[in-house]
């Protein structure tokens, strides 16, 4: 086998050199599609992280009218607490609300100056075990008599409830659309790469039809004839994959810091293990594209 491996490697490199324009075309096509796959995977990871962090921030606030009876408030708190979807219920008094508000607005003192007495209501802050179930918790609260009794605005109970209406759902819908668009692009580009490899290998076969004829004549086994071409396809794909991985790394170090600066409140980050996984996925995808593309060309144009 020692001789054979050397022979195959030599043959596929020679082919690559001989048709380097076509090979380059194939490499670039694979590179671009793998780059897109890589970038979209990274974007997917980042988006998922962001969605998760937004989910954690989803909570329900029940605003209470001034002077609501303490026992009613505690009863409502206890009632809400019985729901398994509820993680915790905290009571925030008018004073605490004002303190918190002042903290948040510390950068705009002119707003604080406008406030003389305390306009903020007291509230119950409900945290959920599963943010996606926010609607059902809200419905339960809304339907209880206790809530109507203590609500800030009994005439319009909706206004007394605040929760991240649909934010999570919208975010999910958005990421789904992004993923679908990317998936369609990836599939299309993968198709183009396959066609390109197919063409390159076809040219390589054509350039060497005489040799192939003689190989068949003297009884070279089918795999012996096919292997250099398969290896050429895989070689092209591997080159494309290496380029794509390098580009993703460059993009990561160029864009991530800026992104973090722009949106400091969002956890934007890619771990090393994610990058390793990504590299493996891209390499594997490249090899697969190479094998399938050249395999298809061999089936069609090299009947040995």
């Amino acid at each position: 086998m020692g001789i054979n491996l050397g022979y195959f490697a030599r043959e596929s490199f020679t082919n690559f050199r001989r048709n380097w324009v076509m090979s380059l075309g194939a490499v670039i096509t694979i590179y671009l599609s793998l780059l897109l796959i890589g970038v979209s995977l990274v974007a997917g990871v980042v988006l998922t992280e962001i969605v998760k962090s937004v989910e954690d921030k989803v909570s329900v606030q029940v605003f209470l009218k001034d002077g609501a009876a303490t026992e009613d408030v505690q009863a409502l708190q206890a009632f809400v607490k019985t729901d398994p979807l509820v993680k915790s219920v905290e009571y925030t008094s008018k004073e605490e609300a004002l303190v918190r508000f002042k903290e948040q607005m510390s950068t705009s003192p002119e707003i604080l100056e406008q406030i003389d007495d305390n306009p903020l209501p007291a509230s119950l802050d409900i945290e959920l075990t599963d943010p996606r179930e926010v609607e059902s918790v809200v419905a339960k609260v809304r339907g209880s008599d206790l809530f109507l009794k203590v609500a800030d605005r009994p005439d319009d109970p909706e206004k007394s409830l605040k929760y991240g209406e649909g934010i999570v759902r919208k975010l999910f819908a958005f990421t789904r659309i992004v993923r679908m668009v990317v998936a369609v692009f990836v599939v299309m580009l993968a198709g183009v790469s396959l066609i390109f490899i197919n063409n390159t290998i076809r040219l390589a076969i054509y350039a060497r039809r005489k040799e192939i004829g003689i190989m068949r004549l003297v009884g070279a086994s089918n795999w012996f004839i096919r292997t250099p071409f398969l290896m050429e396809g895989v070689l092209q794909s591997l080159l494309g994959a290496v380029l794509a991985i390098a580009s993703v790394l460059v993009l990561r170090s160029a864009i991530l810091p800026r992104l973090r600066e722009a949106v400091p409140f969002l956890p934007v980050g890619i771990t090393v293990s994610t990058m390793v996984q990504l590299s493996l996925i891209l390499t594997l995808a490249g090899v697969l594209i190479g094998l399938i593309g050249s395999g298809f060309a061999l089936r069609k144009y090299l009947r040995v």
Partner: protein, 231 residues
């Protein structure tokens, strides 16, 4: 002792309905030297291609070197071909390889070790009388020399059968004589040799077994025969 080559009731019809061989029954023993003669289009090339399994017959049975060619699995065809050396009118040499490399190529691609290549190639080049031309490229060789290279390539693996399709078609009579005596020498080593030709003088002077084809039928099969055809 089974026949080296055996055809029974072989018929080949090229699509859609062009008959090339009809009811062909031929048996060739191990070590025989046989001429296959006939006009162009008489079915000689079809006969050769069937033995190599370049093509399959429409019906009939073909046995070559103990293998049922018709039933042979695709992936086994290369191993059948290792038993059959082939020589053609147009030599089929690789122009960018030297004499030595052209012959070595045949061993390389069937996975022979370097040691085997280094001993067998010079030996077969000596047999065909080209030991002085090992580093020449095909375009530096005469037609006869090129054909010797192609014979060396066909024989370097010592196959039990050597097929030749119009091997002297491009050569002058004197050179052809040399090629034929080379075939004769190879035949003396025990190799079965089948030469398709329409070189009348050659056939008449060698007095070997002659199988004559006409319009795809075997019209004559005689030992120590001549080319025939009174015309």
């Amino acid at each position: 002792m089974p026949h080296m080559i055996s055809m029974r009731g072989v018929e080949k019809i090229y699509p859609p309905d062009k008959p090339a061989l009809t009811d062909c029954n031929v048996e060739i023993e191990s070590g025989e030297f046989v001429f296959l003669v006939g006009h162009s289009g008489s079915g000689k090339s079809t006969f050769i291609k069937l033995l190599q399994r370049e093509i399959l017959p429409t019906r009939g049975q073909i046995i070559v070197a103990g293998q049922d060619v018709v039933r042979l699995k695709n992936w086994k065809v290369p191993y059948l071909r290792r038993n059959i050396g082939c020589v053609f009118q147009d030599f089929k040499l690789l122009p960018n390889k030297t004499t030595y490399e052209n012959v070595a190529f045949a061993l390389e691609v069937i996975g022979r070790s370097r040691h085997v290549i280094r001993t067998q190639v010079p030996e077969v080049l000596r047999l065909v009388g080209l030991e002085e031309k090992t580093t020449s490229y095909p375009d530096e060789l005469s037609g006869g020399e090129q054909q010797r290279v192609s014979i060396a390539r066909a024989f370097v693996n010592r196959p039990p059968i050597l097929l030749a399709d119009e091997p002297t078609g491009n050569l002058d009579p004197a050179t052809s004589l040399g090629i034929m005596s080379l075939f004769n020498r190879i035949n003396k080593t025990g190799t079965t040799v089948l030469v398709a030709t329409h070189d009348r003088e050659m056939v008449d002077s060698m007095r070997k077994r002659v199988i004559a084809l006409e319009s795809g039928r075997v019209i004559r099969d005689q030992h120590r025969g001549v080319y025939g055809y009174g015309d």
